[in-house]
Symmetry: C2
Subunit: 392 residues, 2 copies
């Protein structure tokens, strides 16, 4: 739909935008402006004159349009791990007499690690209860302080029903945090409609913000002013440049800002978000389902050894398709070697992300052809493909 | 000493490198490589093939050479606020039965705000005791769990004696955290020699890493393996890509990494750090004292209304000189209007940073001339200079 807006390497079928989106062609011009015209020429004055100080909120508002967030309710900054910590600390404050945080085994590990770290730091006898994704609904009881889930499972693409689970949680007085890492830019999200208290996510996947692009955090407007931030940094202060001794949180969700914003990463992200100006997320979703359905059909017909790990029903699947295979790692290395880039997730999952901004049916059919050849001719069965790299 | 390595705007005397260092000329080429050759062409493979994953440690080691840190004991990432939180949480864990964190009123507000937030989150009756800088030494008693100081005062440039205070703290079993925001790249620092447990700092001041450049954290090698990180993110895990349920910290200081590193900011920072390859920090210090002494002498001779706010003894002063004046804000606006960029810090301080990498005696004399004219002719006394901008 916008393939011409991205730099994509030749002879490559890129199906890993769910890990790292490709380079928007306009990023370079935007970067140049930030580097030369702003930093180079304005120096310190860039914070005012180039609007650097407002970028976290301004880009938040832009992103908010994609996620159904009211203006002013979402800011960019830090990493997703930090934003999970912030959101969970705030959520626990809202339900001080309950001691259980409910999550599921489909959550991304860092979300659970950050929760572990926070609960240990709090040292008040909290429990992080991790159940199977399908058991979440039956585990939502009035014992649960916070329900903390990633909407789309990073391994399987299984997608939770955000509205249903949020409602179930609210029915028993549980606060809800959604991690939208694999949702933002991939599926329609309406935070306002969901009524969930918090959302967090990253911007380097389907939003194409580049390696290490900043994360985001949303808090529902009616609760934002009640939050006492655990990470009470100066840029979440109501008057950072008064340099007062006492911390007084800024109005609303702006208090979830912490330290100095990463202006150069934000410049790249701005170029990436501009691409969405005339794109409808509903059209993206329609196309994503077409591409995913086509890929499943083609692969299942041709590669009988691969077992679908994603939900078959597209309405419960994000914008990725995963298969399991014992030698999944080697298969993915063989694919990459032939220019089809997806990725591998331990222990045995190969996954393919579909980003209709730049992926089309040719990509799907091309990838299926190459995968078929690798499976049929056991091309994966070579030592060079079986040897694990340190980082995958 | 390296003026040719920086892009500096014409007709500008830049004395605000203690807020934001200028653009290194090589940043653009380095950025281009990261954007096109790495992100653009390697896409997700950049994490391995371009060495992105190792950048926080690799640049930490490079920075460590300037700060007397053993290799592997310092990593880049997040913001200084976050790093303060991490260090303080770890330090408090090391002295669980003491309840007082000692700091001083010369500490940067966000350090104190983050400490407030952490202590409130812990909810174990800790006190953050903030005394005058000169009273720190007499307040170090066996009641103090953690001594947390910024070495160089952001307003006055007053510099603590790191070795002396660390020793005094260790004598009574107190853990020590140094914030090196205004030290790194400005004055010689030797963390190993100081024997302090932790140091944190930012890289956009005298290190010229650009707006929003990542922060750093050091932990002393013999204690690093004992730290249980409060911010237990996946990139501080010993095997991030195993996606295990349980958090197991990485070896040593690498556990202080949290989330996905900001690769584009790190690329710029790398170009900035390369400039230091053949620069001696002792030479920088000698030159910095020459420039500061010259500035004080010239200003005091010509501008009798300005009162020196910095220590007169250069051995207790960082690389900045501050003066107080009731209408300091207006004076700084008038200076900026004439191309002399320093900055203002509430309520009445004008400050000038000296970075011998690109500042020389011509800058000092030029700035003194313009300042003299502004003061003598009361050029500051105009409404346009008195009106405060939202951010200064």
């Amino acid at each position: 739909m916008k393939k011409e807006a991205f730099h994509l390497p030749e002879d490559t079928i890129y199906l890993d935008g769910n890990s790292l989106g490709p380079l928007p062609k306009t990023a370079s011009e935007r970067l140049s402006k930030t580097i030369y015209n702003e930093w180079g020429e304005m120096l310190i004055k860039g914070w005012n004159e180039a609007g650097w100080m407002d970028q976290p909120r301004k880009l938040g508002d832009k992103l908010g349009l994609l996620l159904g967030c009211a203006q002013g309710s979402i800011v960019l900054g830090d990493t997703l791990s930090i934003k999970v910590y912030q959101a969970l600390a705030a959520a626990l404050n809202m339900s001080a007499n309950r001691k259980v945080v409910l999550s599921d085994s489909g959550n991304f590990p860092t979300d659970l690690y950050m929760a572990d770290g926070l609960l240990k730091t709090l040292d008040k006898g909290h429990e992080l209860r991790v159940v199977a994704p399908e058991d979440v609904i039956s585990n939502i009881t009035d014992e649960i302080a916070v329900l903390m889930l990633t909407q789309v499972d990073y391994r399987t693409g299984r997608m939770h029903d955000m509205n249903q689970l949020t409602q179930a949680a609210h029915d028993v007085g549980t606060v809800v945090i959604w991690d939208l890492a694999h949702s933002a830019g991939a599926v329609p999200v309406n935070m306002a409609q969901s009524n969930a208290e918090f959302a967090v996510g990253c911007t380097y996947k389907y939003l194409n913000g580049g390696p290490g692009a900043p994360a985001f955090i949303y808090s529902r407007p009616d609760i934002a002013d009640l939050i006492e931030p655990a990470l009470s940094g100066w840029l979440g202060h109501e008057a950072p440049f008064a340099f007062d001794r006492d911390y007084r949180p800024a109005k609303g969700n702006e208090r979830m800002r912490v330290g100095t914003p990463p202006i150069i990463q934000l410049a790249v992200l701005e170029a990436a978000l501009d691409i969405w100006d005339d794109v409808s997320i509903e059209d993206i979703r329609t196309k994503s389902i077409e591409l995913s359905e086509l890929f499943i059909k083609e692969v299942e017909e041709r590669c009988l050894q691969l077992k679908l790990a994603s939900p078959r029903n597209p309405s419960t699947r994000g914008s990725q398709v995963s298969f399991t295979f014992e030698h999944g790692y080697a298969v993915m290395q063989a694919l990459i070697n032939e220019g089809v880039i997806g990725d591998f997730r331990a222990p045995n999952i190969i996954r393919f992300g579909f980003a209709p901004l730049y992926n089309d049916a040719d990509d799907v059919l091309g990838a299926a052809n190459i995968l078929e050849n690798i499976m049929t001719n056991k091309i994966w069965d070579q030592p060079k493909f079986k040897k694990r790299a340190a980082v995958t």
